[in-house]
């Protein structure tokens, strides 16, 4: 699938949320990005990282050590709050509901993955449209490529980790190959960009 849409000019919109998807090598990049965000970062960040099905929340604890934001592994129907990072629990898809809550599901795997990045991105695109920033990080499969197209079609801002900087380049490259990615950046650059776009006062 190739998607062409109008080029998204970052900063022209009031953003409401960030969604991030990663797989193999994604955790390191995610740590770099989240460590660049201050406690004043005013957007919720929803993360799908492919995990071993038996992960019991240790991923969320690991992420929490490297960021000033509160990291939550949500229960079903948790209210999405600004400045919080929500990590999809192992073995559950994480979706965004129109009432601003998180919905979890144990539906079948998508792209052999549960949680799946496509599932999060597609539901987030429906709710936040052009006010959404979506980021695809390092990984070894193509999960997230369809999701990034949905975000782009809804007018959102799409970023992929520069494949040259990724431990495993397949996933960001698959996203870029759809034509739906606005910018390919290294993790430090993504962190700086998000920090600027999501600062309180810019809202």
């Amino acid at each position: 699938m190739r998607v062409s849409g109008k080029r998204h000019v970052p900063g022209e919109t009031d953003y409401k949320a960030v969604v991030i998807g990663g797989s193999a090598g994604g955790v390191e990049a995610l740590n770099v990005i989240l460590s660049a965000l201050s406690e004043n970062f005013a957007l919720p960040v929803l993360v799908v990282q492919h995990l071993h099905p038996s992960d019991d929340g240790s991923f969320a604890l690991h992420i929490a050590r490297n960021t000033k934001l509160s990291v939550v592994e949500p229960i079903d129907k948790a209210l999405i709050e600004c400045g919080h990072v929500y990590t999809a629990p192992a073995n559950y898809h994480m979706l965004v509901e129109r009432d601003g809550t998180i919905g979890l599901s144990v539906d079948e795997r998508v792209n052999w993955s549960r949680p799946s990045i496509d599932v999060l991105f597609e539901s987030a695109a429906l709710v936040w449209g052009e006010s959404l920033i979506a980021v695809i990080l390092s990984g070894a499969n193509a999960d997230g490529a369809k999701g990034i197209c949905s975000v782009k079609k809804a007018g959102g801002f799409t970023i992929a980790q520069d494949p040259a900087s990724a431990e495993t380049r397949v996933m960001p490259q698959a996203a870029i190959d759809t034509g739906a990615v606005d910018k390919a950046l290294r993790p430090e650059e993504i962190g700086q960009l998000l920090a600027g776009l999501g600062m309180r006062g810019n809202m």
């Binding site: 949500p74 229960i75 079903d76 129907k77 629990p89 559950y92 979706l95 965004v96 509901e97 129109r98 919905g103 979890l104 599901s105 144990v106 539906d107 079948e108 599932v119 597609e122 539901s123 429906l126 449209g129 809804a154």
Partner: protein, 276 residues
């Protein structure tokens, strides 16, 4: 109005048509999941819009059946979340044991993997013969598969690992009979299980249960329907009876929260208070 909003109206109309024509109520399902399933079904059915599905649903029973089956697919596994079965074994069974006879309602039993898991725990704890187990689902295909209790061999490796982590006391293979590329659950596990159709969205309570086991069912419902179903569970339980939910489901922020004590916060096991 953008296309997303228009599609949302179409989905409302589709679910309304399903309810008024067939009595199946998906209007109170968690919206994001049901929308996703609608879109997936639509592309598989070769329709280009949700609206196109509405006359088909109204006039073609077979089309509706396929849609309803698609909406009600549930995915589960043997001893899913092994620590939950360990907690049932260690914290619930000792109290079930104090009743000469006890009843269990497994609501939303899907294809049956978890009801057999529960049966194995009761067997190994020596209380199976005192139990009556009702396994219910609103999907007749799933119920039929649960009743048969035949599963793919390929799933048994993980099932065995889960069984061991759940504190299994024997060898998991003792409960299985090999059949070509499948395994059948031992008939002795089925003796005390009654499989029945029950729709949580519209049907009434089951009486006098000592344990209601319902995992990853509530997450498919919106808050309103969740509260209806939790009320139903609460009314079905004896005082001091147990409620076991999915590990990402929680009674906090629900209408029945103050009617239960927490037995195990991680395994989401609750006990109905003796005094209402």
């Amino acid at each position: 109005m953008n296309n997303n909003k228009i599609e949302s109206i179409e989905i409302d109309l589709l679910l309304e048509a399903v309810f008024r024509r067939y009595g199946y109520d998906f209007r109170s399902y968690a919206r994001a999941s049901i929308e996703r399933r609608t879109r997936q079904f639509m592309s598989g059915a070769g329709c280009s819009s949700v609206s196109e599905m509405i006359p088909k649903v109204l006039h073609d029973k077979e089309f509706f059946s396929r849609l309803a089956r698609y909406f009600s697919i549930s995915v589960t596994e043997m001893f899913r979340d092994p620590f939950v079965y360990r907690a049932v074994r260690e914290k619930v069974v000792p109290l079930l044991r104090t009743w000469p006879h006890f009843k269990i309602w497994h609501a939303g039993s899907a294809t049956g993997e978890e009801v057999y898991s529960l049966a194995i725990v009761l067997k190994e704890e020596g209380v199976y013969d005192r139990a009556t187990i009702y396994a219910t689902d609103f999907n007749d295909d799933a119920l039929e598969r649960a009743r048969e209790g035949i599963y793919e061999v390929s799933k048994m490796k993980e099932a065995t690992r889960n069984y061991q982590q759940a504190g299994g006391k024997a060898s998991f293979s003792e409960y299985l009979h090999a059949r070509y590329d499948a395994v059948a659950m031992s008939g002795s596990l089925k003796e005390r299980i009654t499989f029945a159709n029950h729709n949580l969205a519209v049907d009434e309570a089951f009486g006098e249960m000592h344990l209601v086991f319902s995992r990853n069912v509530l997450i498919y419902f919106n808050r309103e329907l969740q509260n209806r179903v939790l009320e139903l569970f609460t009314n079905s339980l004896v005082r001091g009876g147990f409620l076991c939910l999915g590990t990402k489901e929680d009674l906090r922020f629900t209408d029945v929260n103050n009617r239960y004590d927490v037995v195990d916060g991680k395994a989401k096991i609750y006990r109905k208070k003796s005094v209402p």
